[in-house]
Assembly symmetry: C2
Homo-oligomer: 247 residues x 2
DNA sequence: AGTTGTGTGTACGAAATCGTACCGAAGTCG
DNA sequence: CGACTTCGGTACGATTTCGTACACACAACT
């Protein structure tokens, strides 16, 4: 498990110049205040940002890659949130909670920035515009979560699997990314063989290719058709968040 | 079968003097500012507070009874949140969103208060203590939602059914309340006959009685054992929220 | 008393997923 | 090169839930 097998499997290098959309949407004055505190970080595959119940010492703003929030329970682990360059890790501090109740870790390697919680909160509390932006983001996360609740109840594994791959593609900024089926099975809250079958179906349909931890999206439009409505709903919600904060 | 009912369809009248715990936890000065704006309301069974996408003109604080937030999707309806006297309906306005993306309606009749959004927000924005309380409540709701996501994926219908009945009992302040199995099936996101089977199992085990829309919790401890861990987790989270705001 | 509507129990084949086991293919390392 | 590890495909009986249909119980109303 400690073996870093990423070295020899070639994948398109993540494009360099991606920005975090939340930071981008900030008023320039607020961004300038945060700038000196922002520390560049790289996100390694499977790196843990927070254990469940950990103090939120920093908040993280990915520019590329993807973090997952997962709920560890007695009978399994289920993903409850994904964060890419459209979001941040550590939202509870915006709501005056100092701890993250879930595990946060990196699903797709990438890079970004982090900032200690105190200076971050200082800027947020001083700037109504910044606070507004971040709280609206929290509401978006809330809506996504509500979507997941229904999705996990109503939709088939195939559809949820397609949805997850689409979300990953968006955040990877690439049609090719690294992801073992075993990990995917944790995220979807099902057993590994079930993912294998679902992935085979998508592969047979010519929508993806899947080889030893390397996923390639072949037919994105087809995959969107195979996915449940939840993908479109959450995607549009995120886009409209940023539309509201442009200009 | 068992015709030992105490009377006909009469259910214990909801006790009168229950308060909303959020309002109770407010600093007195804030409560006094809200007081003149608080309008007493009664919640009728199945009354709709908000349609999906509706403007949040008022926020609601139940003193008794229970409201549900549900997500209507193409292939069914699933409950994504429950609000009793420990909470409020209309949290998105705290996060600068003016609309509620879900349907909110009354599951258990009761009463409470409402207040127009503007004066409510004015008090919240003026009082850091009030804002802190309400935002912490939003975080609690967020955590509950994350729990539901995993619960819907991992736990059996029997366990989820038991959990739901326990949550309802808490909010009904009574071991007896009105609830048809058909409604319960919507809430749990399953078909009605499945609820019938699950309810029979709980009934056969001597944990509840269920007659024509009238549920009676017979063995609360046993029901807690039958329920998944999610009940205890969310229950404790709510209690600790209020523990933090006492004194 | 009969009718109607609502709420509930039950049945049963179909589908999805579980739980587990085993095998093969690809890459890693000694 | 050969042993080992990781990853993925497949199989199959067990279990859960679906989807649908039907019958019964109770209450309200004619």
């Amino acid at each position: 498990m400690e073996n870093d097998n990423t070295s020899s499997v070639s994948v398109d290098a993540p494009p360099t110049a991606y920005h975090n959309r939340l930071l981008e949407a900030l008023p320039e004055s607020d961004y300038l205040r945060l700038l000196p505190e922002l520390e560049p970080v790289t996100f390694e595959l499977r790196q843990v940002l927070f254990e469940p119940g950990a103090d939120i010492t920093h908040v993280y703003f990915p520019s590329s890659g993807m973090a997952s929030l997962v709920n560890d329970m007695k009978d399994g682990t289920v993903e409850v949130g994904t964060i890419g360059n459209e979001g941040m890790v550590g939202t509870p501090i915006l709501l005056h909670a100092s701890k993250l109740p879930m595990r946060a870790f990196i699903q797709l390697a990438g890079e970004g920035h982090r900032i200690p919680s105190e200076p971050f909160l200082r800027v947020v509390r001083d700037s109504p515009a910044a606070e507004r932006l971040f709280l609206r983001y929290v509401q978006t996360q809330f809506d996504h979560l509500a979507q997941w609740v229904a999705c996990n109840r109503l939709h088939t594994l195939d559809a949820r699997c397609a949805r997850w791959l689409l979300m990953s593609e968006d955040r990877a900024h690439s049609s090719q990314f690294l992801l073992t089926q075993e990990f995917l099975s944790y995220m979807l809250g099902v057993h590994r063989p079930a993912v294998s079958i679902a992935a085979s179906a998508l592969s047979d349909a010519g929508l993806i290719r899947y080889t030893r931890g390397k996923v390639t999206i072949v037919d994105r439009a087809g995959l969107e058709t195979a996915a449940c409505e939840c993908y479109g709903i959450t995607r549009r919600a995120t886009d409209s968040l940023f539309a509201d904060f442009t200009g």
